[in-house]
Symmetry: C2
Subunit: 506 residues, 2 copies
């Protein structure tokens, strides 16, 4: 891990060819904030929700048919199921799995002690220092995908890094998936908004990776929200049927604003999220035993003044720690957290909230972190500078997670103490000479100069430095090589589907 | 704890009379990142440094005499001592103790599961949005003390919240101590820079608290740095002799920039810090068995480009977690971390670095956190806005620590699930009505409005809001009542000592 971190840094400064940065392999122990009594209480409530309250599976008769055939009790559209049975189905999902990228050096392993960072997903707006706030468009989308590809601390490019609002809604998924496939060679997600769009994503993945690879490996995943509370609509079940049906992965995420889509308490919201996601996991395992499944959690607090969602606050910090422990107990890979904030700009509020959110996400052991960079304005806006600033901080988290405390003999530096006198200094000691180039994380965007040097450099704040950084990165962008025949096949697929699907803007 | 947090918030919005906010009583479990093998390796190295390398006690013959009389082996000025003996001396220090404030509602308990937040210490410069960066002066000093007194999330006012550079160095400690004693009724520190200044601080504390109280309780503490590596000069030993000699507390802090004042590795720097501080603790216990002692740690990384110290980086994050565990093993109260940054302004860099630094400080279990608010520019500058911004975030940490995850029956909200249908919402549920006013931390400085409201409000960033906030606070400041006779006695003491001590500017 230490060697990988170093080579990433070096490569980044030499040229903007995206270095291999598959994911973080965690050496730091997990942080369990719940004692056995608390865990049992939470699990008891999860079981109670699944058994006594039930989850509605709505607007997808095929989903109810699948549940019924598997033996579930259904009342109307509400599925209630014995917790033991749901847990035994969940146990069929892999504790960890690999999502294969078209560049094998970028394969990511998700689950266990592995942690994968992906950028923001789903913002309709974008913002940068040069052009201000505006609707997302294909030009911004492509730039952001390139940046996510190039940045060494992002392992996965997600999908809707911003909404390309200048492309018809009915065609948008084709352009988005094509852009991820060609402007990057990192793993990414597919569309979920309609069953046919999920299918297009899976079909394009089969073109890119080939049928044989896809038969054996997870090469694409969907990420979909339940309609909390306790409602799973057909967007979810269809996405599960398409992705898991083809042996691919799915991330199912209860999005719970405590007090609105869940009770106004963290313990209840966490158990509700567990129950909703575990029922979806069980459904996925009925569809295809062994299908890769990521248990999601997106819990937020709100402002008492306005009811607006708040981020980076103590309640979601605690929620991250608690859900991490619950997911490990359930043996399921976890998605939670991110670099979240309600701030409209890249100011101190944005950074405080993002850091507290992400520090807890990191320690919680989140295996797949969507929104780990670029999130602003409660998710409504992707920030170009924010993306680069957050990603710079991800390098610090990678080192914390991947190295922990080195307790090798070299780290104890006994020879240095034989060499240096009391009150002396270690700058020239042999131990320092041997180790200084790899001792410290070197952030690209933190300025540690004295005030005079900083003023001579133009008194730039981090936002301005980030603006210059991402523009410089884009100037050095080179597309990763792609077999021309495959590219043509993908382009043909997109063109054909666009001709088949009427343009629609809703 | 929940009730206390609520009453603080309410009081803050009603009037700027500082509410009672003694300290955080932690319910969240500690985060132990080291396994037994690692702990033993670290402790073995601590013992090796104390026994084989030794620590120099320099320029204070009385300190060497005290060591000698206690039975230590001394070679030149280097004290080497059997680790068992040092550990048995350290065991005489209280695991937790109370620093009594002149307002008993503000007494703080330090050690164990208690966490106390104090502002920045020692910056020669100040900065605010209105006046920019400038040398600290008495006017700024007094304003900052008032703000620290008024803020509900600061439990202790420290001492050198900025250097009042317009007061002669030889008189400065008198004005600083007098200001803390009269403009605030929270606990604070005394001076350490010279033995006579330490003595003045202790003598003024005796006037304020009375001899009887001082005989029985810790009412003032000194905070002093060793001259790392492995050197304890007379500033340290004299401060220990004065403060501990009078039964008062002392914080001894090895300040180690890894690679300069310690080896360029975290494990070695942590063990060196432990060895230096434990030797000082043992010395304090020889001076007065049972004297309150706080084991300090200030470890920082550096920039490879310039050698400048860096903050909020992965190495000090790991160091915070490791030293927390080591201090608990040693049974000593801990000071570490803070809201640290190298940034020159209150930008995203300042906040990212401060939050990662402080999140780890919080989880590490630091019992006394100096620099928890206001620190900028690697400690050279106190920011008025930064003080208020950091302190706002401390409220979030207080809730994380003080509440953890509530697992009461009420928190599981079963009645709400009986009431709300799938896809419905909990906003009007009885459970939400019962709990919403206390469910979430309500930060004063985070804006969670939508972008339109935020723009209508003037598009203010957090720094601007903080500027308005602290000015509004100062407008509502009222000095806590102090017995007029005591105030006069303190003023007489200061006047007499100023007449006795020649003005000196160095």
């Amino acid at each position: 891990m230490a060697r990988r971190a170093r080579s990433r840094r070096t490569t980044e400064t030499e040229a903007f060819v995206a270095p291999a940065s598959p994911h973080v392999q965690r050496r730091l122990p997990f942080y369990d904030i719940l004692d056995e009594e608390a865990v049992v209480k939470l699990e008891t409530q999860v079981d109670w929700i699944m058994q006594e309250i039930g989850i509605a599976f709505r607007d997808d008769p095929e989903a109810l048919r699948i549940w019924k055939e598997a033996g579930a009790q259904i009342e109307g559209d509400i599925v209630k199921a014995p917790a033991d049975w749901i847990r035994s189905l969940c146990a069929k999902a892999p504790r960890e799995f690999t999502q294969v990228a078209r560049n094998p050096a970028r394969n990511v392993t998700i689950g266990g002690t592995n942690q994968v960072f992906a950028p923001i997903y789903g913002a309709p707006f974008v913002r940068d220092v040069g052009c201000g706030r505006r609707y997302g468009d294909m030009e911004s989308f492509e730039k952001l995908v390139k940046l996510a590809y190039m940045h060494p601390n992002l392992h996965h490019t997600g999908l809707v890094i911003c909404e390309p609002c200048d492309v018809p809604v009915s065609h948008r998924h084709l352009d988005m998936v094509y852009t991820h496939m060609t402007r990057s060679d990192k793993p990414h997600l597919g569309a979920i908004t309609e069953m046919s769009r999920a299918q297009d994503s899976v079909d394009m993945a089969e073109i890119l990776h080939g049928k044989d690879v896809m038969d054996e490996h997870c090469v694409i995943m969907g990420n979909v929200n339940t309609n909390s509370p306790l409602l799973v609509d057909r967007v979810v079940t269809e996405a599960i049927r398409v992705y898991c049906g083809r042996g691919q992965g799915i991330v199912v995420v209860p999005f719970i604003l405590s007090g609105a889509m869940g009770p106004v308490s963290t313990a209840a919201s966490v158990t509700q999220a567990m129950a909703e996601a575990m029922m979806c996991c069980a459904f996925a395992q009925v569809v295809r035993p062994g299908a890769p499944f990521i248990l999601g959690n997106f819990l937020s607090s709100m402002s008492l003044k306005s009811g607006a969602p708040t981020f980076g606050m103590p309640e979601p910090v605690i929620s991250n720690y608690a859900i991490g422990q619950m997911a490990r107990r359930a043996g399921l890979p976890l998605r939670c957290g991110g670099s979240l904030t309600a701030s409209k700009i890249e100011d101190a509020q944005a950074a405080y909230e993002s850091a507290d959110s992400m520090h807890s996400t990191m320690l919680a052991g989140a295996n797949f972190v969507l929104h780990s960079a670029g999130w602003m304005e409660g998710g409504l806006c992707t920030g170009f500078e924010k993306l680069i600033m957050d990603a710079d901080r991800l390098g610090s988290y990678q080192k914390v997670l991947g190295e922990g405390l080195d307790i090798s003999d070299e780290a104890f530096a006994r020879d240095a103490y034989e060499e240096v006198d009391p009150g002396g200094h270690f700058l020239g000691s042999a131990h320092t000479m041997r180790n200084y180039t790899t001792a410290f994380y070197e952030p690209a965007l933190s300025d540690s100069e004295n005030v005079e040097s900083w003023e001579e450099g133009g008194s730039k704040d981090m936002r301005q430095r980030a603006y210059e950084k991402w523009n410089a990165m884009l100037n050095q962008y080179e597309a990763p090589k792609l077999d021309e025949a495959k590219d043509e096949e993908l382009r043909d697929y997109v063109a054909r589907r666009k001709s088949e699907i009427p343009e629609a803007w809703y």
